[in-house]
């Protein structure tokens, strides 16, 4: 949202107040602040993380979009960039990191693996996409996505933030508690999602042999 839009709320402003006060809506000023300083979690999983570093380096310079402050601790991060293959051994930790992030929080699935398993989908230790566990805001295709694609994805996220409304966002919605806290998966004989325990038990009981 550019400055002109931000400063034209649709009301008539008396001439004497023009250029003295700005009137806007809470949603707009909130979204403007949010989208201009998205702090990603410093967290690389695989190949895509290298392109993420390249996007931060001099040629692509993601800092131009207000996203250069990578935070290694989830407590200070707004956005989780899932940059690489999500494995069964890693997914409990990713979910824990997500749970530790303060709201508002966004998840971007970077690359084919994070979006749907990618070339490794058939692997026995691979989770076919982080969206099986976390609510994903933006998917970036590619293997790995180029830095340009990553920046395009980040701009898409900014566009999404622009359209948010405080009254509707999921983290203030009391009925949707699940989307803020995700139960942490457990490593058993295979990966177990606590939300599906009953289902797993029923299917295992019905299994042949």
């Amino acid at each position: 949202m550019d400055n002109e839009q931000l400063n034209s709320p649709g009301y008539d402003i008396p001439d004497e107040l023009k250029n003295v006060v700005s009137i806007t809506t809470l949603d707009r000023i909130y979204n403007w602040g949010r989208r201009s300083s998205v702090w990603p979690l410093m967290f690389g999983l695989a190949c895509c993380a290298i392109e993420m570093i390249a996007a931060q380096a001099s040629r692509y310079d993601m800092a131009r979009f207000g996203m250069e402050v990578m935070r290694p601790t989830p407590r200070q991060a707004d956005m989780m960039l899932v940059s690489g293959t999500v494995t069964k051994k890693m997914v409990p930790l990713i979910v824990r990191l997500y749970n530790q992030m303060p709201e508002p929080k966004y998840v971007v699935a970077m690359g084919a693996c994070a979006s749907g398993g990618g070339p490794f989908k058939e692997g026995y230790n691979v989770v076919a996409g982080i969206d099986k566990f976390l609510p994903v805001d933006v998917y970036i295709p590619g293997c790995p996505p180029t830095p340009q694609a990553l920046i395009a994805g980040m701009i898409k996220l900014q566009e999404k933030i622009d359209k948010e409304s405080l009254s509707k966002v999921r983290w203030y919605d009391k009925k949707k508690e699940d989307s803020v806290y995700i139960p942490v998966p457990v490593l058993g004989p295979d990966l177990m999602d606590p939300r599906r325990f009953a289902e797993i038990k029923a299917i295992a009981a019905a299994k042949e042999g």
Binding site: A54, K89, K121, F197
Partner: protein
């Protein structure tokens, strides 16, 4: 060092009648050792025959023959080809083989991997736990009778996709509607996770109190999400004050099942998967796999393609070492500045990769018998500009900026990484071995491709401290530039591929161990073919994984801050560490 002055000629069968026999299967070479005599024979291989460096340990599950085979590869640090020896045991649980860690401690993690993935129990192993998967995982995935949740067929191309093309999502075929599988009547709520008692148990064994002052030991878990572990590596460290008392690496957080997927793929389909092993150096990975399969197919590589391969592999080495230097700066707290310098040059090299292959990182450029396409117009001029003008200047610039930086030198000098003797014992390869003073480089010791035609040095450094490891990378950048300067001058015209390009290559039955000097050390592929379109066994011997075996040895007794720096100079990359 264990290298003797005179080396006996290698005839193990004559030396150990009855205990060793030559491997007579067609396409196979090496020796088959009786299980009970393994320790005795292995000791002789090291002490009498001079094979002081055990480079790879892996297993093959010969289900049709009802045998489990453990394959060892060793070489002499004075040069020469690898020696292959094997132990065969009946495939009846428990599959037990004596551990060779008492002879070559570097076998520790590779034996743990064979236990984890193949279920080979190594007796007398100091710490036999699962390494890539977690305790409690059901089964040993690389066994031929183990099937993953998304199992469709034994070999690609799957009939559902080709030629009929009636593919349904894998999720819909699995009863659990996801990539999971559980035994019958399994109840998740009754499951008690094994947790990490085994890991902490292994740590605790080393906690010996010294002196009269009783101090508390604290266990610190670094990673898998940690800014200095280069990805999802984790180390459980016990510290006494600031001093590291014991350390256990924990890995597998990026275990993407290359070996299992590789057995389903056709030979050519594995090429793009090798890109994603060491994702900084996809060209080097392609090189290793191409060398391994070409050995098995016994084909010549087109002359021009050999030069293109060397050019790409050396450019890859330069950008890897540039990133190494930049990232080492980050690890030491010089945030970002050296990394930004490094990435500026790296982008120029990636431009060349993108021009020849279409992708910046995942090049998938090599083919069996050549490369996939010729250099596009203008690329050779670009490379010449880089290797004659820009990169030598930039290497000097980086040298000036860091090597003469007093703070940097004070931090790096004298912090020991490893000495030559231990580096060999722990199977370390690559720059870390050379920085400890051992002039071992596969390009010279066991030349592959056309490296014997170029004039270049194998740099070494005497001290094996952090500073030497950093300086050695700079030396190697300069030597790579020397090779490149010769290669771009000598490159001939001609075809870039022998024979017609084909999707389905014919690979005769047999085994092959193809190794190249990747920027991180010895990258090798052990491929077993049974004449079918898919490899029977596809194993990657990654340098990062084997080098990390000595991490505890390197770190115990140093300060915890040095652990970060030492991990930095080993230059691990998780894609190939966990595979």
């Amino acid at each position: 060092m264990a290298t003797p002055t005179t080396t006996a000629t290698l005839d193990l069968a004559a030396r150990f009648p009855g205990a060793v026999s030559a491997d007579a299967r067609p396409g196979y070479k090496g020796w088959i050792v009786e299980k009970d005599k393994l320790i005795e024979v292995a000791t002789a291989i090291r002490d009498e025959f001079g094979y002081d460096h055990l480079t790879a340990v892996t297993g093959v599950d010969y289900l049709p023959e009802g045998k489990m085979e453990v394959v060892y590869h060793a070489f002499k640090t004075t040069g020469g080809p690898v020696l292959t020896f094997k132990v065969q045991v009946p495939r009846v649980d428990p599959v037990e083989v004596p551990s060779v860690t008492s002879i070559w401690p570097g076998a520790e993690f590779q034996e743990r991997e064979a236990w984890d993935l193949l279920g080979v129990k190594f007796t007398n192993h100091p710490d036999l736990r699962r390494i890539l998967l977690w305790e409690g995982f059901e089964g040993h995935p690389l066994r031929k009778d183990w099937k993953e949740a998304f199992y469709e067929e034994d070999a690609k191309p799957f009939k559902s996709r080709w030629p009929e093309g009636k593919h349904v999502m894998a999720e819909e075929k699995n009863p659990f509607k996801d990539n999971i599988n559980f035994p019958k009547d399994f109840d998740p709520e009754q499951w008690v996770p094994e947790g990490e008692a085994a890991l902490y148990g292994a740590l605790a064994r080393y906690q010996v109190q010294e002196g009269s002052l009783k101090t508390d030991h604290i266990v610190i878990n670094m990673g898998p999400q940690h800014p200095s572990t280069h990805g999802v590596f984790r180390a459980a460290v016990t510290v006494d004050g600031e001093t590291v008392v014991s350390l256990k690496p924990v890995m597998g957080y990026l275990h993407r099942n290359h070996d299992k997927i590789g057995e389903r793929n056709t030979f050519l389909q594995n090429m793009p998967f090798t890109d994603r092993l060491d994702y900084f150096n996809s060209m080097s990975n392609n090189f290793g796999y191409a060398v391994a399969v070409e050995k098995l197919m016994n084909i010549q590589v087109a002359e021009r393609a050999e030069y293109i391969r060397v050019i790409m592999a050396e450019l890859s080495r330069i950008q890897n070492h540039l990133v190494f230097i930049g990232m080492l700066g980050n690890d030491l707290g010089m945030m970002y500045t050296p990394a930004l310098y490094a990435f500026e040059e790296r982008e120029l090299i990636l431009d060349i990769f993108e021009a020849v292959s279409g992708s910046r990182m995942m090049c998938n450029y090599y083919r069996f018998g050549g490369v996939v396409r010729d250099l596009p117009e203008g690329v050779l001029e670009k490379i010449k500009g880089l290797v004659f003008e820009r990169l030598p200047v930039k290497a000097d610039e980086l040298d000036r900026m860091l090597t003469e930086n007093e703070v940097f030198v004070a931090r790096m000098k004298g912090v020991k990484v490893i000495d030559a003797e231990n580096a060999i014992r722990y199977s370390i390869t690559g720059p870390v071995l050379r920085a400890a003073g051992v002039p071992y480089d596969i390009r010279r010791a066991d030349p592959y491709s056309i490296y014997d035609r170029f004039d270049f040095d194998i740099p070494t450094r005497p001290n094996g401290d952090l500073m030497d490891n950093y300086l050695l990378r700079l030396d190697e950048i300069r030597q790579s530039l020397r090779i490149l300067q010769q290669a771009v001058k000598q490159i001939p015209e001609g075809p870039v591929m022998t024979g017609k390009p084909q999707y389905q290559v014919r690979v005769p039955a047999g085994e092959s161990y193809g190794r190249v000097e990747s920027p991180k050390g010895e990258l090798a592929f052990y491929v077993v073919s049974n004449g079918k379109p898919n490899p029977f066994r596809y194993h990657v011997r990654p340098p990062s994984f084997v080098n990390i075996t000595a991490l505890e040895k390197m770190c115990v007794g140093t300060k915890i801050a040095d652990f970060i720096a030492i991990l930095g100079v080993i230059d691990i990359v998780l894609g190939e560490l966990d595979r």
